[in-house]
């Protein structure tokens, strides 16, 4: 028997195709799983980055706006207090009183107890000439008619000048109010305010103390970056207070001109040196002053850059891990699947063989009888020959000896034919395509069942005319298919039943072989399951694998199998086979 179907045999045959197939499965699995795992990670990381950056920016810019708003408010308070002071002096004194320098000096001394930053006081007539003065310099008769702040008085009734360092050598700014006296004369009261008082936006309590050249103390306490710069500028961008990075008071700030804003506003810009900045600013109403807070953008970006780097590292490491796990896992699973498939193929092959042997086993009664009969003839003929030689007085005739030896030879030939058929049947396990005469093949298969048919008076009819077409297929497997089905037909019919075998060429590419019995038939609820593995109605005697294996073989040979049945009338199996070699 050619039971040489080993794992190695099957593996060798199937490896090239299987290898490609599993490789493709592996690649597709790895790609799909990776995409499904990595894409959401990338999207989430991107969203996270944006959210963090926005929150981060907000954390940096909000204190800047608050800082500037507070500065603006403090400056406004500072100016309005001094403005009210001037208004009060103008209201409570007559023009004549104010024209007296002694009176004015007294008033100055009085207000300096409250406002130490007020340097001097002056009364200006409606032509712009200072007619009375109290203070450290001799500024009586000074003409202010062409000063900007004086001209602004005509419009608003009060004004605040830019910070100047004129002949006095002290940085200061002028505040003035216009007042109409009892005699309808218009006069102006002017005070010079020491600019040092607003060097840190006028209010030390709110913003803390700041040394020149050191870090912004107030900034830190308000949550503004320590590298920020806070100062006042006027409408032309000239520094009104000293700055950390843009020089002393009265130096140009190098900042581009920005539109007036009464609310704290944030802009991103570049200064004259090309440095990227975030600037928060607000104008102080009724004055030329603008509160400015400048932070370098790099400080802002340094935070988001490190955030971006951290997120990129996290994402990179995660992707590497995911891909490594996916590749490892998929390789493992696909390898296991391949091993399982290979094992299954081997088991299936063994199962097919076992089925064929079982089918042959079922024929053994007939085969034993077929072999026993000629052996019995040989036995008795030889025995008779010896009897004649031993017991007869005269030698047996030449005819007698010839007839007996012919009997022996014929019987021996009969035995040989049976064993030859049987061996031929069992050995065809390797798939080998050859041209097969269907009529001869069917008759060979029936040869094993011929005796049973005759003992049970089962009529086997070949129902076709003409030369039946031949097919290119595997002989051993076709034998198995027909043996399984014809065996079933023999089992289905009663003694005296009928089995019809038909061969119908369908077209030049296919041929149908039908095996019809007039036996018990198959119940409709069972008909759908007869090709399922382990489905059997022969409780205790069948494995339920015969038709399942038959189905598998027919599929493998590129054909199809169909069954129709009616209970009590019989069953017809139709096997359609390709006449040519099946596509591998």
């Amino acid at each position: 028997m050619s039971k040489q179907i080993t794992r190695a045999n099957i593996a060798k045959d199937e490896v090239p195709i299987a290898h490609r197939r599993y490789r493709k499965v592996l690649i597709v699995t790895v790609l799909l799983t990776s995409i499904v795992a990595v894409v959401p990670l990338v999207i989430m990381t991107g969203i996270n980055f944006r959210q963090y950056r926005n929150a981060f920016n907000f954390e940096i810019t909000r204190p800047m706006l608050r800082f500037v708003a507070l500065g603006q408010q403090s400056m406004a308070t500072f100016l309005s207090q001094r403005h009210a002071m001037l208004e009060r002096i103008a209201r409570e004194n007559t023009l004549a009183e104010l024209q007296s320098s002694d009176t004015l000096t007294g008033i100055l001394a009085d207000i300096q107890t409250t406002y130490t930053d007020v340097i001097d006081l002056g009364l200006i007539d409606d032509r712009g000439v200072q007619i009375s003065y109290a203070g450290p310099h001799d500024l009586r008769s000074r003409d202010y008619a062409f000063f900007d702040w004086y001209r602004q008085l005509r419009v608003g009734g009060s004004s605040v000048s830019d910070v100047v360092t004129d002949y006095t050598g002290v940085p200061h700014f002028n505040m003035a109010v216009q007042h109409r006296g009892d005699d309808s004369h218009l006069f102006t009261l002017r005070a010079a305010v020491d600019a040092n008082a607003i060097h840190w936006l006028g209010n030390f309590e709110t913003f803390g103390y700041r040394d020149h050249g050191s870090r912004c103390q107030g900034c830190h306490s308000l949550g503004v970056q320590a590298s920020s710069d806070a100062f006042l500028i006027n409408g032309s961008g000239v520094l009104q207070t000293p700055s950390l990075h843009y020089g002393q008071a009265l130096a140009p700030s190098l900042l581009p001109s920005l539109p007036a804003r009464s609310e704290a506003t944030l802009v991103e810009l570049e200064d004259g040196t090309g440095q990227a900045l975030i600037v928060s600013y607000a104008d102080v109403a009724g004055s030329p002053f603008r509160v400015v807070l400048v932070s370098p953008r790099t400080a802002l970006h340094a935070g988001s850059m490190s955030l971006r780097r951290d997120l990129l590292i996290f994402m990179g490491v995660s992707i590497l891990l995911i891909v490594a796990v996916v590749i490892g896992g998929s390789t493992y699973v696909v390898n296991r699947a391949r091993e399982a498939d290979l094992k299954r193929a081997v088991y299936y092959h063994e199962l097919e063989y076992a089925n064929k042997m079982a089918a042959l086993g079922r024929l053994s009664a007939g085969v034993a009888h077929e072999i026993n009969n000629p052996i019995a003839i040989i036995n008795q003929s030889a025995g008779l020959l010896r009897d004649l030689m031993t017991w007869s007085k005269e030698r047996p005739s030449r005819e007698k000896i010839l007839s007996l030896t012919n009997s022996i030879l014929n019987s021996a030939r009969r035995c040989g034919r049976i064993t030859h058929n049987l061996l031929g049947f069992a050995k065809h396990m390797e798939v080998e395509h050859e041209k097969i005469n269907l009529d001869r093949l069917l008759r060979e298969v029936l040869g094993f069942l011929g005796k049973e048919a005759s003992y049970r008076q089962i009529e086997v009819a070949f129902d076709y005319s003409g030369e039946p077409p031949s097919v290119v297929s595997d002989k051993g497997q076709l034998q198995q298919v027909f043996l399984n089905i014809i065996n079933n037909a023999f089992a289905a019919v009663e003694d005296g039943g009928r089995i019809e075998i038909g061969i119908d060429p369908l077209d030049e590419h296919s041929v149908a072989v039908s095996i019809t019995d007039n036996g018990a038939g198959i119940a409709e609820e069972n008909l759908a399951h007869i090709f399922d593995p382990f489905f059997t109605t022969k409780e205790g005697s069948g494995t339920g694998l015969g038709l399942s294996i038959t189905y598998g073989i027919v599929k493998k040979l590129g054909g199809s199998i169909d069954v129709t049945s009616e209970v009590g009338k019989g069953t017809r199996f139709t096997i359609t086979l390709p006449t040519g070699e099946p596509d591998a």
Binding site: A365, A368, N372, N373, G383, D387, W391, S407, N410, Y455
Partner: protein
């Protein structure tokens, strides 16, 4: 060896086997008759009496078991020895149940066959004398 010789009817569908066994038993003193079908055996027994029938179980048309049933019905004096192939041993046992004297599995040795025929024959004679 037998003054009168047992009358043996050999029934088998193989003509060559029937004639070879017949001749060998003849040489050993049996009176034999060979037929190749169940019908022929029943026909023969309808007209002739016989001590032992050597009956093949598997035969086309009328099978051995059917023939055995009819012999036991029609000719209760006649003993039946069943002759079977390996695969039909179960049929032979069924034959025993139906009243066969014994069964033999092919191929049989002539010595064993003779002894069983003698036993069956003396059994038949005994039955005969009792009735």
């Amino acid at each position: 060896m037998h003054e009168q010789g047992l009358r043996v009817l050999i029934v088998d569908d193989e003509q060559e086997l029937v004639s070879a066994i017949g001749e060998r038993l003849g040489l050993r003193g049996f009176r034999t008759k060979g037929v190749t079908s169940g019908e022929a055996a029943l026909d023969y027994l309808a007209e002739h009496s016989c001590d032992v029938v050597l009956l093949d179980v598997k035969m086309p048309d009328l099978g051995g078991l059917e023939v055995l049933k009819r012999i036991r019905q029609l000719h209760p004096d006649t003993q039946v020895l069943m002759l079977t192939g390996h695969g039909s041993r179960r049929d032979a046992e069924e034959g025993m149940r139906l009243g066969a004297y014994d069964y033999l599995v092919k191929p049989v040795s002539i010595g064993v066959l003779c002894r069983l025929l003698q036993d069956a024959g003396s059994h038949a004679k005994k039955d005969h004398t009792e009735t």
